[in-house]
């Protein structure tokens, strides 16, 4: 079970009225390498991974939901006051036709989220390498998002989220080292 804290993991402030950026941010909401895919990928894999790294997948999977909330907040702030005309101008006309201003799990191109974005091979090394790749792809996505806005407040939150991908990637790499079970040969121990 989870305990919910009614606050964001990191503050989200959006200072520029830019509904087009909301469309791009959707890539991290309902995209293949987005936060929803990340959370569901890790929280599903943890049942069939060695005990030593179950807690890591639980922790990171949970944090991904906290990131999902931050992305949702950004998208909501950027679209909640947009008129239908503004939504159309931002390339969100087809979204508006189906959802009004409601959020939905699609990528930046409007393609709905699908479980085929995530994997669970059951092989611990294969799954952890998948997770490392997912973190690097999410880091890259954040870089391209940072490149596409000049809103320094939005950039600030995106930079925080990008750094978390870096930390998660290292933790998954460490999980691989733990499962290799050869740490007694490393100089640190």
């Amino acid at each position: 079970m989870w305990a919910y804290e009614k606050k964001l993991q990191y503050p989200v402030r959006v200072s520029k009225c830019d509904p087009l950026m909301a469309k791009f941010l959707m890539e991290q909401y309902g995209g293949a390498d987005g936060e929803l895919a990340a959370a569901l990928r890790y929280l599903n894999q943890r049942y069939t991974i060695p005990d030593k790294v179950v807690g890591l997948l639980t922790d990171i999977g949970t944090e991904e939901f906290a990131h999902l909330e931050m992305i949702a907040t950004m998208v909501y702030k950027l679209t909640k006051d947009a008129t239908p005309a503004q939504m159309k101008a931002a390339g969100l006309g087809d979204h508006y036709a189906a959802h009004d201003s409601a959020l939905f799990y699609t990528n930046a191109a409007g393609v709905p989220w699908t479980a085929s974005y995530i994997a669970a091979k059951g092989d611990p090394i294969a799954d952890l390498y998948e997770d490392i790749a997912a973190e690097e792809k999410a880091r890259a996505t954040y870089q391209w998002l940072i490149d596409m806005t000049d809103d320094v407040d939005l950039q600030d939150s995106l930079k925080y989220l990008r750094e978390r991908e870096i930390v998660h990637s290292l933790r998954f790499r460490e999980a691989v080292e733990i499962l290799k079970d050869k740490q007694d040969q490393r100089i640190y121990f």
């Binding site: 990191y10 930079k159 990008r162 750094e163 870096i166 290292l170 080292e177």
Partner: protein
């Protein structure tokens, strides 16, 4: 690894008949986790405020973006 050593550059081939003005140099990111296979204990830590701001407790894991050594970087 310092925060200013996390980007690599290369110069792509430029054709004589390229339709658009060429980008002479391209860069890509090589963040710090690539160089740490297992985090050693007792690394120096940021202050709590800095750690929140940067998203990590350890300067060794901090990866800035865009490349801080590039002045023009920082959005369009």
């Amino acid at each position: 690894m310092s925060a200013s050593d996390q980007f690599r550059t290369y110069r792509p081939f430029l054709g004589p008949f390229d339709p658009c003005p060429p980008i002479q140099e391209k860069s890509y990111n090589v963040p710090p986790q690539l160089f740490i296979s297992f985090q050693p204990p007792n690394l120096p830590q940021f202050s709590p405020y800095e750690a929140l701001k940067y998203g990590t407790l350890w300067p060794a894991l901090y990866g800035p973006y865009p490349d801080p050594s590039r002045k023009e970087a920082g959005g369009d």
